[in-house]
């Protein structure tokens, strides 16, 4: 028995050492793939009764961390009404993916909130409704009055099962939260 045993145990040990020590993996990492990456939020502001269309944008093409985002603010005319459309995009993909449509589709659990800083003479009203007749905020009407400077915060909230007549900017999880410098003159 010994005759068989010792060599076979030696083989077992040699095999295990061989197995583990010869493990080596040359696999290259897969490209990162963030599901639902939002890189860009864009506001397109069309003045009523003529004038130049204004575009404000927040772009962070490499996602969280890494390079700093590029923020373009808005210069608005005083005493003017703008019809505004917001877009959220994933511009890391080619062609860029428009995530706004998905927000629209799930409008009953999403809402955009617009918060002008105190002193900025700007009022924002939602002009769209979800399936429950609650505002989504993809399209809005912004009205300026006298010259002033400040910021406009745009927040997209995901409110699954939470969105109702009393839900607020403090309800749910934040999908987007950006702040633009705004000048009214």
């Amino acid at each position: 028995m010994k005759l068989f045993l010792k060599p076979s145990l030696a083989i077992l040990f040699a095999a295990t050492v061989f197995t583990t020590s010869s493990c080596s993996n040359d696999e290259d990492p897969l490209p990162e793939n963030e599901e639902e990456l939002i890189t860009t939020l864009k506001l397109t502001m069309v003045p009523q009764g003529g004038g130049t269309t204004v575009t404000a944008s927040y772009r962070d093409l490499d996602g969280d961390g890494g390079a700093n985002p590029v923020i373009t603010g808005a210069q608005l005319a005083a005493n003017k009404t703008y019809e505004v459309t917001v877009q959220v995009l994933d511009e890391s993909k080619s062609p860029a993916e428009d995530i706004t449509a998905e927000v629209q589709e799930e409008g009953h659990e999403h809402q955009f909130f617009y918060v002008p800083s105190p002193g900025l003479n700007l009022t924002v009203t939602s002009t769209d409704k979800d399936s429950n007749n609650l505002p989504i905020g993809i399209t809005t009407r912004m009205m300026t009055t006298s010259s002033s400077t400040g910021t406009l915060q745009v927040v997209l909230k995901h409110q699954p099962g939470l969105k109702n007549a009393t839900s607020t900017i403090n309800t749910g999880e934040t999908d987007v939260e950006v702040t633009f410098p705004v000048q009214i003159q």
Binding site: F4, T19, T20, D28, E35, D62, G63, E173
Partner: protein, 798 residues
């Protein structure tokens, strides 16, 4: 992945060689195995006093049912020669001591030592098993087995371990708990599952050990640095999850366990069947499996949405044991799908502040077993092959190979719900050779070598990179016992090579288009170091002993500490790794005074100080990380010198024959010596008292046996030992202290020939709303409320 399968096949073939050759040698019939030519077995051992550990001269050892008797000599030794393989009953008796007996199938020469208990000490109907004596470690340690372990059925491993002094758990909601030993967890403690280092995504505080607690017949915790035997990383301690040894006496038995838990309407079915066929005495096997399902947990005032989970686990083991050698194989799979509490779905810092303002988490929830997004899907496989070969009368050589595969999928609330947002796969191969050398005088010891290969990959969003590591170790432990002294010394050397693979992060590289801006980085790290241990036990007398241990252990930074880069979901933190981290080293000193085997008062006190140089921890940055989703707390990995100091006390007092009072307390203080302030997220002071009434027989013919009822109160203090500018590091101050009233009862029911063991456990009986400092979801919701567990265990013999 696929190429490992080839290796495995090769390995299995190799493992089968000794098995097949042995079979061919011994012949297929059982009659032959017990033929005269094999009747050369010697059973021998030493009989000692349990407390004094002094040898007992003149103790009688009888092989019941045979004419053989042996009387221990001047060294306490007894021996029986020329025995044939078979089942023997050893009965050891000595005047003034309780007799002990052991029934076992012996197929090879064996050393069986007995420690006898003085008669007067058998107060309660404790189950005295004449097991082979356990080496008392010089480090503080605790065990959980038998009925006390059974009472934890339905709980997670970490919750079960909370019964031991010095242990607590770090939680992420009601379904995820990780054990904490002396204030340390995750990367600083090791879990040995059936003798194999459990290798998974230990670094995450929301990644609980992927082990089915029903596998264990004994849980042991070694507290303090224990790196010599188990390898680097065991800075805070080691948890040993040990299954029952395979049957060594002929027969087939099974056990069925049923558990129901009220707060989450959890149901558990767990079964085990094992056999040692009489026709093939060398073979033993076991099959075991567990199914679990739980729904939303309930706090005193509300349900916690999406906190249900499901678990399906199984294991299979088989062994072939002969006189001189044996081989065994073990495979286990753990699979769980668990929901992540909806109230913790927070994005940025503003969301967390909003959550803190709420009295109740949103959304309002009802009870359901359904699991929605986000959820985790975790699978852990372990394959272990082990062989031993006897080298002389008391020496033994062990060879072990183990392969583990851990897959963790995190499904997010956003995006494509058919695919995980993040998938980790970690594969580990481990080989160990261990030689327990024959006794040299009073010296007993072992030498060993181990090697481990690990590979980690991920898909989806980046958090921890691909990496590959090779770890090799050599160790040597000796133990010397004479009279009142037990000395222990050990040394270990480990070498670790780590290579990470990732794309450069500060460039637009998420498109996956390799290019100059999308460079593949392959940083490598090499760590090597020594671990050591030195310990002693001195017996002052039969009831009092003092153990002292000094140990040093180290760990290398983990890949997540070196390279993590991303948002840690649910914590509102953007975590940055630090590639410049160096080795963390612990110098651990511990003294344990034990007053044992007394008629009324028994107790143990353990004090420790663990100096940790270059302790790796997360320090929040004053500047938050701005993303398109708003601001996140920035956390960076730093190193500082720290000290963990603490004391564990446990004592019991037998008030009457049936009534006993027990008390337990644990205190730990963790201090950052470099910054001159306390560390955060350290367990708070715990103090538990209990009153237990036991009654051995009840009912007409003693239908109810081993009855007990216990009432206990647990007080957990508010953490007051915190740094000054606390809210710069955490979102909320440590929660208030709390008190919980718990109760337990149990009985063994004799229904004809069938036994049924029943246990009832009530937790948080006063339905107190409270929050625990070590729960990462304490910002969002209360802990679970009143919960009743009913468990039934039915042993079956065929």
């Amino acid at each position: 992945m696929r190429k490992y399968i080839n290796y495995l096949v090769l390995l299995l073939l190799c493992a089968c060689v000794p098995l097949a050759s042995a079979y061919a040698q011994s012949g297929p019939t059982a009659a032959e195995t017990v033929s005269e030519k094999d009747c050369g077995i010697t059973l021998s051992g030493t009989v000692t006093d349990h407390e004094r550990r002094s040898v007992l001269i003149g103790a009688t050892v009888v092989l019941e049912g045979t004419p053989h008797t042996s009387v221990t000599d001047a060294n306490g030794h007894y021996h029986f020669h020329d025995l044939c393989p078979g089942t023997y009953k050893l009965v050891v008796s000595y005047l003034g001591y309780t007799s002990e007996r052991l029934e076992k199938f012996f197929r090879a020469p064996e050393v069986v030592n007995f420690r006898l208990h003085p008669d007067a000490l058998l107060l309660r109907s404790v189950e005295v098993r004449a097991a082979r004596q356990r080496e008392q470690p010089t480090q503080a340690s605790s065990h959980l087995s038998g009925r006390e372990l059974a009472q934890t059925q339905g709980q997670s491993l970490a919750q079960a371990l909370e019964r031991m002094t010095g242990l607590s758990s770090i939680q992420t909601g009601p379904s995820i708990a990780k054990p904490v030993i002396h204030g340390m967890h995750s990367n600083r403690i090791l879990v040995m599952n059936n003798g194999v280092r459990h290798e998974a995504q230990q670094w995450g505080s929301e990644h609980a050990p992927e082990i089915d607690p029903f596998v264990a017949s004994e849980l042991t915790v070694v507290k303090g640095a224990a790196g010599v035997r188990y390898g680097a990383d065991a800075i805070g301690g080691v948890i040993l999850v040990e299954p029952k040894p395979l049957r060594d006496s002929a027969g087939t038995s099974a056990v069925l366990n049923l558990v129901g838990v009220s707060h989450n309407r959890q149901g558990v079915v767990s079964g085990m069947v094992e056999s040692n066929p009489a026709a093939v005495p060398s073979l033993s096997w076991r099959l075991q499996g567990t199914l679990k399902q739980a729904g939303n947990s309930k706090t005193p005032d509300y349900y916690l949405d999406n906190t249900g989970y499901r678990e399906q686990n199984f294991s299979a083991a088989a062994g072939w044991t002969r006189e001189k050698y044996g081989v065994d194989a073990y495979f286990s799979r753990f699979h769980t799908k668990l929901g992540v509490f909806s109230g913790s779905h927070v994005g940025n810092l503003t969301d967390i502040r909003n959550a803190l303002q709420r009295e109740r988490p949103e959304p309002e929830a009802d009870f359901t077993y359904a699991i929605g997004v986000p959820y985790q899907n975790v699978t852990h496989d372990l394959l272990k092959l082990h062989a031993f070969y006897r080298t002389g009368p008391s020496g033994k050589l062990h060879l072990t190979y183990a392969r583990q595969f851990n897959q963790r999928e995190e499904y997010d609330a956003h995006g494509d719900r058919s695919r995980p947002g993040l998938r980790f796969e970690i594969e580990t191969h481990h080989t160990e050779a261990l030689w327990e050398h024959p006794l040299i005088g009073n010296l007993k010891g072992s030498l060993g070598a181990s090697y481990q290969y690990q590979f980690n990959r991920f898909e989806g969003r980046f958090f921890v990179p691909f990496y590959e590591s090779h770890t090799g170790g050599l160790f040597w432990i000796e133990r010397w016992e004479k009279n009142q002294w037990h000395l222990e010394a050990g040394l270990r050397y480990d070498y670790r090579h780590l290579q990470a693979r990732m794309y450069r992060k500060d460039t637009p590289q998420r498109t996956g288009q390799a290019g100059p801006d999308n460079e593949l980085l392959t940083p490598t790290h090499t760590f090597q170091n020594l671990s050591g241990t030195l310990g002693a036990i001195y017996d002052f007398g039969p009831h009092l002993n003092l153990a002292f241990n000094a140990a040093t252990a180290w760990r290398s930074p983990t890949t997540s500490e070196l390279y993590s880069n991303g948002i840690h979901h649910g914590t509102g933190t953007y975590e940055y790794g630090n590639a410049n981290l160096g080795v963390e080293r612990a110098y651990n000193f511990m003294a344990t005074l034990a007053y044992v085997q007394n008629k009324r008062l028994n107790g143990e006190i353990s004090v420790y100080r663990n100096y940790i140089d270059n302790y790796i921890y997360q320090e929040p940055d004053t500047v938050p990380t701005l993303t398109i989703r708003g601001a996140f707390l920035t956390a960076r990995q730093k190193q500082a010198n720290a000290t963990f100091t603490g004391v564990d006390v446990s004592a019991s007092y037998q008030l009457t024959e049936h009534l006993a009072f027990a008390t337990k307390a644990s205190l730990v203080r963790a201090y950052n010596r470099s910054a001159d302030e306390y560390l955060i997220w350290i367990p708070t002071d715990r103090y538990e008292n209990s009153l237990r009434y036991t009654l051995d027989k009840l009912g007409a013919q003693g239908t109810f046996a081993q009855n007990f009822i216990q009432l206990s109160g647990l007080a957990v203090a508010r953490q007051r030992h915190i740094p000054d500018n606390y809210l710069a590091r955490d979102y909320a101050m440590p929660p208030a202290s709390y008190f919980l009233l718990n109760a337990e009862a149990g009985t063994t029911l004799q229904l004809g020939k069938q036994q049924v063991e029943i246990g009832l456990i009530g937790r948080n009986l006063l339905n107190k709303a409270y929050r625990d400092y070590l729960n990462r979801f304490r910002y969002y919701a209360d802990e679970v409320g009143r919960s009743i567990t009913l468990r039934v265990s039915i042993p079956l013999h065929f």
